[in-house]
C-alpha cells in the first residue's frame, strides 16, 4: 500500500468505522468507565497498549502456529488465552519496571481481558487477511479511535451531573442515548472516505 492508502485506512479505522460506535466492540467498559474523565483516560491508554501488542502477537500465533499445524478452528480459544496471558504478563512487567505507569493503569489492565474490542480487532485482522504491517496499523488506529470516542463521551457524561433529567433516564439509559448521537456525529465522517 502507498502512503495515501495508509492514510485512508487510518482515517477510516479511527473515524468512519470507529470500533466502538460503528462496530459495537468494547461497549461494556465504554459505559462502565466513562463517568469520569480520569478513568476514561486511564482505560484509553491501557487499551492502546494492549490492543497493539495483542494484534501483533495473535497475528504471529495465527500464521506461525495455527496455520502450519492446521488447527485454525482453535483460533477463538488460542486468541483469548494469548490475550489473557498477555494482560497478566504486561501487568507483572509493568509493576516491576514502570511503577508510575502501572499505578495509572493498574485497575484497568485486568478489565481488558474481557474487553471484546481487543479480541474483536485480533479476529478482524485475520478475517481481512491483513499482512503484519497492516495489522500493526489497523490495531493502533482502532485503539486510537476507541480512545477518542471514550474520552469525548466521558467529557459529555461529566456534564450530566449538573443536569436535571427524568428519573427513568438517569445513569446508563441517558448514556446510551447520548452515545447514539455521538455515533451519529461520527457517521458524518463517512463522506471523507467515500463509497460507504
Amino acid at each position: 500500500m502507498s502512503f495515501g492508502d495508509y492514510m485512508l485506512f487510518i482515517v477510516s479505522a479511527i473515524l468512519v468505522n470507529n470500533i466502538l460506535l460503528a462496530k459495537f466492540l468494547g461497549n461494556c467498559p465504554f459505559l462502565g468507565v466513562s463517568k469520569r474523565m480520569d478513568t476514561a483516560t486511564g482505560m484509553s491508554m491501557a487499551v492502546i497498549f494492549v490492543m497493539v501488542m495483542a494484534g501483533m502477537i495473535t497475528w504471529l500465533v495465527q500464521y506461525y502456529i495455527l496455520v502450519p499445524l492446521n488447527i485454525e478452528y482453535l483460533q477463538t480459544i488460542a486468541f483469548i488465552l494469548v490475550i489473557a496471558a498477555l494482560v497478566q504478563l504486561v501487568e507483572i512487567v509493568m509493576a516491576k519496571s514502570l511503577p508510575a505507569l502501572y499505578r495509572a493503569l493498574g485497575i484497568f489492565l485486568p478489565l481488558i481481558t474481557t474487553n471484546c474490542a481487543v479480541l474483536g480487532v485480533a479476529i478482524i485482522n485475520i478475517n481481512e487477511e491483513f499482512d503484519f504491517v497492516d495489522t500493526l496499523v489497523f490495531s493502533l488506529a482502532s485503539a486510537v479511535g476507541y480512545s477518542l470516542a471514550l474520552i469525548l463521551f466521558a467529557g459529555i457524561r461529566e456534564r450530566f451531573m449538573l443536569t436535571k433529567m427524568p428519573k427513568a433516564f438517569q445513569g446508563t439509559s441517558i448514556g446510551l442515548v447520548v452515545a447514539g448521537f455521538l455515533a451519529l456525529a461520527f457517521s458524518g465522517f463517512s463522506g471523507l472516505v467515500g463509497g460507504h
Binding site: 460506535l21 460503528a22 462496530k23 459495537f24 466492540l25 468494547g26 461497549n27 461494556c28 459505559l31 478452528y73 482453535l74 483460533q75 477463538t76 480459544i77 483469548i80 488465552l81 489473557a84 481481558t113 474481557t114 474487553n115 471484546c116 479480541l119 474483536g120 479476529i123 478482524i124 478475517n127 427524568p166 428519573k167 427513568a168 433516564f169 438517569q170 446508563t172 439509559s173 441517558i174 448514556g175 446510551l176 442515548v177 447520548v178 452515545a179 447514539g180 448521537f181 455515533a183 451519529l184 457517521s187
Partner: protein
C-alpha cells in the same frame, strides 16, 4: 432458594441486558432484526448453560487463583462448539452474526454468571440459573430486534407489514439507532420497575 426461583430471577430481577447491564456489544450489534437477535440469544443460552454446568461440577477442583482463566477456557471451548455447529446447520445466521459468534467468549454475562453463581452453587441450580438468564437474554434481544426491525425496515420477522408507500425510519437499523433504541428500552424498564416497587411499598404500608 428453590430451583424455580433460580430460573425465574433471570426473567425479570436480573434480566440481562436491561436490569443487569452486561453483554451490550452483541445486544447493540445483532438486534437489527428479531431473527438475528433470537439466534444470538439462543447461541448465548447454550454456551451459558453448558459453561454453568461444567463450572459448577468443577468448582471444587479449580484452584481459586486461576479460576478466571479456567472459566475462560471452559467458555471458549463451548463457543467453538457453537461456532462449528452453526457453520454446519445454520450458515445464513452464522454469516449474519459474523464476528459476534467468537465474541460470545468475552460476553460478560457468561463470565459473570460463572463467577457470581456457578462457582458457588450445585449443578442443578446452576443449570436453572443459566437457563433463566439465557432465556431472559434471548427474549430481550428478540424484543429489541423486533422493535428496531419494525420501525427501521417496516417488517416483522422478514414480512412487510406497512402500507406500500411507507418510508421506514432507517436510523433505527443503523449504528446510532442501536444505542438510542437500547437507551429508550432501558428507560422504559426503569420506569416500569420503579412503578412496581411503588405499588409493592404501598401494598405493604
Amino acid at each position: 432458594m428453590s430451583i424455580t426461583r433460580e430460573f425465574t430471577k433471570g426473567l425479570w430481577e436480573i434480566l440481562p441486558p436491561f436490569r443487569l447491564v452486561l453483554g451490550l456489544c452483541p445486544t447493540l450489534a445483532v438486534t437489527t432484526s428479531a431473527e438475528n437477535g433470537m439466534g444470538m440469544g439462543l447461541a448465548t443460552t447454550f454456551v451459558l448453560v453448558c459453561s454453568n454446568l461444567l463450572v459448577s461440577l468443577l468448582r471444587k477442583i479449580i484452584p481459586s487463583k486461576v479460576r478466571i482463566a479456567a472459566y475462560v477456557v471452559i467458555i471458549a471451548s463451548f463457543v467453538v462448539i457453537v461456532e462449528l455447529m452453526m457453520q454446519a446447520y445454520a450458515f445464513p445466521l452464522y454469516q449474519a452474526l459474523g464476528i459476534f459468534i467468537p465474541l460470545i467468549v468475552v460476553n460478560c454475562i457468561i463470565l459473570g454468571r460463572a463467577e457470581a453463581f456457578a462457582g458457588k452453587n450445585g449443578p442443578v441450580a446452576s443449570i436453572a440459573d443459566g437457563l433463566g438468564v439465557g432465556i431472559g437474554f434471548t427474549i430481550s434481544l428478540a424484543v429489541l430486534g423486533a422493535f428496531r426491525e419494525l420501525i427501521g425496515s417496516g417488517t416483522v420477522w422478514g414480512n412487510s407489514v406497512f402500507w406500500e408507500s411507507f418510508e421506514p425510519f432507517t436510523f433505527m437499523v443503523r449504528a446510532p439507532g442501536a444505542f438510542v433504541a437500547l437507551g429508550l428500552f432501558l428507560a422504559a424498564i426503569n420506569l416500569i420497575s420503579s412503578k412496581l416497587d411503588d405499588r409493592k411499598r404501598r401494598a405493604q404500608s
